[in-house]
């Protein structure tokens, strides 16, 4: 592939204050699957909110409060537009992907699970999309079933013979694994599941920043993601759900703003989505979240997808050529943004540490995916992951640093 065909996105570093600062001029940030850096537009949107349009939401009767409320609700509208939700009420602002999944597990699945029922997840799930289901299943005497993987890291759906059984109450899976990087066939799964009235939750934490998502097309029942992995702020995420699912869901958190009437003995819920947003709304982070959506939209998700995919493929191909280095999942035609690897005999912590000294930021560990690690027979891997601002020189730096690792520990 020629450099020009490859460089689909012009250099985005100028948009990111941290990456363009002198202090970090030698930084090759390849830890995007953990969290991404923030463009100036996101940072200033939040500062602007605090500096010129800050007030309580939903309750104030003075102009500033009305303006702040509009700002908050506009962020919801932006998010809805970004993932193709029909109505903005289908977007619940949460603290994170993790909270969103817990909300569905506790507030929706629990009341629907009978002893002997199944909830299906996959072998590659992040702890956040594993532990809440494990607990809820235990509580309800239901069974947590696991879709295992083929050697190449793809889902072994054939082996999951009871996946579409009458006992399955929910299928919860990631769109993209944060270790393997492959794209799961969520569309096809949703279609099959819908035919049997089995709801599907898609954990889009690793896909939403890199792949265009349209819930109208995907037709999943729940979709969850976090702002901080898509160039937005920490402390906020979103739960999208079909309106019928939201109507069925009991709120996990109770408090101000989510009830209509309260007496000593009873209470009645407010309308959706307020019902699921107990407590004072997280205005500034919602504004930053919307600014991140604007940033992505400004570049265009298809261009981002092509750029990140291209980088990932290049890096994967180069890494595969290194002696003593093993890619955890072979590059598939559906790889996206993430590569995990192993250097037998060298501990991933040491790899990441040396890479860090060389200015290459990657992550080593179990990546909150212990069920997957156990099945791979590993306790940790090293992971490089790409974002809009990465370029060929980041790959070059990664390769040079791996060379140093080999020399140091050979």
């Amino acid at each position: 592939m020629s450099e020009s065909a490859f460089l689909l996105l012009e250099n985005k570093i100028a948009d990111f204050p941290l990456l363009q600062s002198a202090q970090h001029s030698c930084l090759h940030y390849l830890d995007n699957a953990a969290t991404t850096q923030k463009p100036a537009s996101v940072i200033s949107a939040m500062a602007d909110c605090y500096q010129s349009c800050y007030a309580p939401i939903h309750r104030g009767l003075y102009p500033l409060a009305a303006a702040a409320t509009a700002l908050y609700e506009n962020s919801r509208v932006k998010l809805a537009g970004f993932i193709g939700a029909e109505k903005s009420e289908q977007i619940v602002f949460t603290r994170s992907t993790t909270e969103a999944i817990n909300m569905v597990a506790w507030g929706w699945a629990r009341n629907r699970l009978q002893a002997g029922d199944y909830i299906w997840v996959t072998r590659m799930e992040h702890h956040s999309n594993f532990l809440p289901w494990q607990r809820i299943c235990k509580l309800c005497n239901a069974k947590l079933r696991i879709i295992e993987l083929h050697e190449d890291g793809t889902l072994n759906l054939d082996a999951a013979t009871e996946l579409f059984s009458k006992r399955t109450r929910l299928i919860a899976l990631c769109h993209v694994s944060n270790v393997l990087g492959g794209v799961n066939p969520v569309g096809a799964l949703c279609e099959q599941a819908a035919a049997l009235n089995i709801p599907v939750l898609v954990d889009a934490a690793q896909s939403v920043a890199h792949i265009p998502i349209d819930v109208g097309v995907l037709d999943c029942d729940f979709l969850v993601f976090s702002a901080h992995k898509m160039y937005g702020p920490t402390g906020i995420g979103a739960l999208y759900a079909k309106s019928a699912r939201l109507e069925e869901m009991e709120p996990l958190l109770l408090g101000g703003g989510m009830v209509d009437e309260v007496s000593d003995e009873t209470r009645s819920w407010s309308a959706i989505p307020a019902r699921f947003e107990a407590g004072s709304p997280n205005l500034a982070d919602a504004v930053g979240f919307a600014a991140a959506v604007d940033y992505l939209g400004g570049i265009g998700m298809r261009r981002i997808e092509a750029h990140v995919d291209s980088l990932t493929r290049r890096a994967g191909a180069a890494l595969a050529r290194i002696d003593g280095l093993r890619l955890i999942a072979p590059m598939t035609p559906t790889s996206a943004s993430i590569i995990s690897f192993d250097m037998p005999g060298i501990h991933p912590h040491d790899i990441a540490q040396v890479l860090g000294e060389c200015g290459v930021a990657v992550r080593a560990g179990h990546h909150c995916c212990q069920p997957l690690m156990h099945s791979l027979g590993l306790s940790a891997t090293t992971r490089a992951s790409f974002g809009v601002y990465n370029r060929q020189d980041d790959i070059d730096a990664l390769l040079a640093a791996i060379d140093r690792v080999r020399r140091l520990f050979a």
Binding site: G60, A65, A66, T69, D260, E261, A271
Partner: protein, 141 residues
């Protein structure tokens, strides 16, 4: 200071001297609208003559917007057919309902004093309480 006062003379007049306010004895149907969030409560009674709403009255308590809106509503729908009244409700819902869009028609003539409320989402429910009671009454006929 806000550019345009929320409290126009028309609105205040309807609040202070509400039209068609009083007991609802002998109404063909009575329905209630309320906002639990602020305790406001309006009852609307319809008096029919054939297909027409010969008289529409209300009683209850609420803020000035709530009372003025009820008063204006009774004026606006008296003499209308059921369909016409229902159509007016739909226009009001589009104007003051949740997630209302910007491309809606603004209210005509004597309902115009309420337009300013659209800038204050927190008050929109106040406008609608009496209209929701009207809607329920029309549906109940």
């Amino acid at each position: 200071m806000a550019k345009e006062s929320f409290y126009s003379a028309v609105l205040l007049d309807h609040f202070r001297h509400s039209r068609n306010k009083g007991e609802l004895d002998g109404a063909d149907i009575v329905r209630r609208g309320h906002n639990p969030r602020c305790g406001d409560e309006i009852e609307v009674g319809l008096y029919l003559q054939g297909e027409k709403l010969a008289q529409v009255k209300f009683r209850g308590r609420g803020c000035s917007v709530c009372m003025a809106s009820a008063s204006m509503m009774t004026e606006a729908v008296t003499g209308c057919s059921k369909q016409e009244a229902y159509h007016l409700w739909e226009e009001m819902r589009d104007l003051f309902g949740d997630g209302n869009e910007n491309d809606v028609k603004h209210p005509t003539n004597n309902l115009q004093a309420l337009s300013v409320v659209r800038e204050y989402p927190a008050r929109q429910r106040c406008v609608l309480i009496s209209w929701e009671a009207l809607r329920d009454a029309l549906r109940g006929l």
